[in-house]
Amino acid sequence: MMDKAISARALRFRYQRGKNLALDGIDWEQGRGEAVALVGRSGAGKSSFLLCLNRIIPNFYPGDFSGELEIFAERLSGKRTYELAKKIGLVLQDFESQLFSTRAELDMAFGPENLGVSREEISRRIDESLAAVGMSAFRNRSPESLSGGEKQRLAIASALALAPEILLFDEACTDLDPLGREQVRAVVRSLKAQGKTIILVDHEPEGLAPADRIVILSRGKIAAEASRGQMLYDHSLLQSNGIRPPEMAELFSALKLSPIELDPLKAAVLCRQKGFAPAREAVSQIEKSDEEREQNRGKVLIQVSGLEHSYPGGIQALSGIDLEVREGDFLAIIGQNGSGKTTLVKHLNGLLGATRGAVIFQGKEIVPSMLSKLGRQIGFVFQNPDHQIFSSRVADEVAFGPRNYGFTAADTKNRIKEALDLVGLAGRDNENPFLLTKGERQRLAIASVISPDPQVLILDEPSTGLDYNEQLKVMDMLAELNRRGRTIIIITHTLWLLARYAKRAAVMAGGRKILEGSVRQVLSRPEILKQASLIPPEITRFGLEMGFPFLTMEEAARALGAGR
């Protein structure tokens, strides 16, 4: 039995003025050097548990706290947070808020300085920590000049500079693009290999890879726990707790194949060995339906030609973009952070003006002065719903747009009802938006943009920060809007969502559009996607090995099941 690193008994916590217990009798044992993934739906208590470990709860967030916590057999009762800073490093989701210095090395020095560490020792720790996250060449860089993944690695290095034995990662990959996620996950794997004790919170199955064990929290209680190997195969348990089950595990279950192989390339070899191959008939049916969809695209709605944009200071964010959005399209714009995705879509409703080139909507060139009026026809949902919600009633929030556009009281009422029905918030008109969950706030933000009934809906990363079930709810709702004839444009980093819901995709890299086509065409070009630091979803990689790029597990199961 390894040494105990973390031990909790009957841990309970209720936030001041909180209705329910955030933690409701947690018992926890974790050995030194063990990595545990803590998962669960939004609001399950994951972050609260992490914050208890360094006593930010209850020292910083007061409330009713009870139970026993021990770190390396030392009781934490009465300890101050700073006393634990040298034992426990915390990395948060919002990397912007964790970095406050003007140079990477100064950010790392901050923690040890607070604990009175000598200058020589701080220098040594800076060198070691930067090397541990692969950022030795970045020591003099300003954090603001780094990409999301680099910032998060710097935040990890800053935590490591305190020389902690335990590291807590609270959704450290959520806001990152696929490349950034992979960079951070590689660091976590290497820290695990160095023997650090780790707790990581992540919604994506790929993020759970370094974990020896997975613990599921639900409403502040431990709902289940098992080794990673066992847990990843129980997809219904994962799904019901907000985790996306690995596509390969789902496929192997559907094909009644065992043992399950999670690696898509190895899985393809195994499937071939067992005699599976995509059925010709099923494949041609899929191809025919793809072709019909392409041929039945509506008329051109938005035409982008030769679009260029330079920000003040001469930073060229877009160059030579040509893009056609047709009526009824469900277009996904993908690419790594800083590739120009948001800058591009901000031109489609007048949030930004072109430096060169033009964006034409229904025969008229879109210019920034049209922004307020254009919202009636082209709705724009920002990434963070909290950037737009301001009312104290759900209904008032949804009514804001229709009222601005001069709808009558009766029409406004109808629009509120229709929008709330569509986003699954029917009957919650009088609730306070700020008391809704993040997923509900995201859906409310969408309702408040679709309430004037725009023809086109643009959404900037609508699934970021949501658990699996909330992501599905939001995307199902967009699919429904698309079925009702609305044109949808989304920016996303989540390629399995794109594969499952979008019809077309455009890939951005370095301010240029490097690929465009149907989702299947785009995802079939991993070599081009790689230039944008993107990797096709597992099921598509598996499909490419099998001879046909599947987009969903259901598609693959049908084609392979029929082809055996």
């Binding site: 914050l51 930010i56 910083f60 101050r80 947070t81 700073y82 006393e83 800073a85 426990i88 490093g89 915390l90 948060l92 919002d94 808020s97 964790q98 406050f100 210095s101 003007t102 140079r103 100064l106 020095a109 901050f110 923690g111 040890p112 300085e113 607070n114 604990l115 009175g116 560490v117 200058r119 701080i122 300003s142 603001e144 000049s145 800053s158 935590a159 305190l162 409703n349 949030l351 922004l371 307020s372 009026k373 254009l374 919202g375 009636r376 709705g379 724009f380 920002f382 963070n384 909290d386 950037h387 737009q388 919600i389 301001f390 804001f400 747009g401 601005n404 700020f434 943009v449 004037p452």
Partner: protein, 259 residues
């Protein structure tokens, strides 16, 4: 400071000891406060202006020129309108301008501008870490100097949030009126999200600080070190002489507008 305010560029002012720089800034403020005659203020401007070149002050001023000019102009108009004493120059209904009032207003606007300009030189050439090193060096408790320094870091974060929030509301049909009352009303939808977003940011920042041992009460070490060098002494002596000169002018009844 964030990159928005601090400009990473090697310069004379960038290399100065932060505590010395703070004292020098205060001494220039004292000199500016001793005078109000616009001709003398212009003299002070001529003395201080080269500092803009030896720092990144001009570059920051170029970024903030609109705000800078608006503040100076507002100061001039307020002083010109509300200073009633002196020889009448112009009257229209309740509006009355006097010769001395206009001179005093010009001097006050130049003084405010000068102080802002020196402030810009300071913040453009002082990273946040140097600022709190300087403030703690002058005896301010670390949490206070850190909070003061951090407030500069938060300025661009909040302004960026506010700009996104404004865009989000305009995209939903918010039209900002030219009428000041209506304009204020139309900005209401911005206040709540701006305030909440600021609270969330500060909350996250506080958690990150706590987790890194902030406020431990342990005697803090500083990884960066500065030595008071000859150029620091030279600047201090220069500023002291400037103050002495202004005091001498005041003793001889010069440098202020006579009513």
């Amino acid at each position: 400071m964030s990159e928005f305010l601090f400009i990473e560029r090697e310069s004379f002012f960038r290399r100065l000891h932060p505590s010395g720089k703070i004292i020098s800034l205060v001494l220039v403020f004292v000199a500016a406060l001793l005078l109000d005659d616009p001709c003398y203020m212009l003299g002070l401007w001529l003395i201080v202006l080269p500092a803009g070149y030896f720092s990144a002050g001009f570059r920051l001023l170029a970024r903030l020129w609109f705000l800078f000019s608006a503040i100076c102009l507002a100061s001039f108009m307020l002083w010109a309108v509300f200073t009633r004493a002196g020889n009448p120059l112009f009257a229209l209904g309740p509006l009355r301008l006097t010769e001395q009032g206009v001179l005093f207003a010009a001097g006050s606007a130049l003084r405010l501008g000068l102080m802002l300009f020196c402030g810009l030189i300071f913040i453009a050439s002082t990273p946040i870490e140097n600022l709190f090193y300087g403030l703690t060096g002058l005896g301010l408790p670390f949490p206070v100097s850190f909070a003061l320094s951090l407030s500069f870091r938060l300025v661009p974060i909040f302004s960026q949030s506010a700009s996104t929030i404004l865009q989000a509301q305009r995209a939903r049909g918010l039209i900002t009126s030219a009428n000041p009352v209506r304009k204020f009303q139309s900005y209401f939808p911005l206040f709540v999200p701006v305030f909440l977003s600021a609270l969330r940011k500060v909350d996250q920042l506080s958690v990150a600080l706590e987790a890194r041992g902030f406020g431990s009460g342990i005697k803090r070490t500083s990884w960066i070190q500065f030595r008071f060098s000859r150029r620091d002494w030279l600047l201090l002596v220069f500023c002291l002489l400037l103050d002495a000169g202004c005091i001498w002018l005041r003793f001889h009844g010069l440098g202020t507008v006579k009513f």
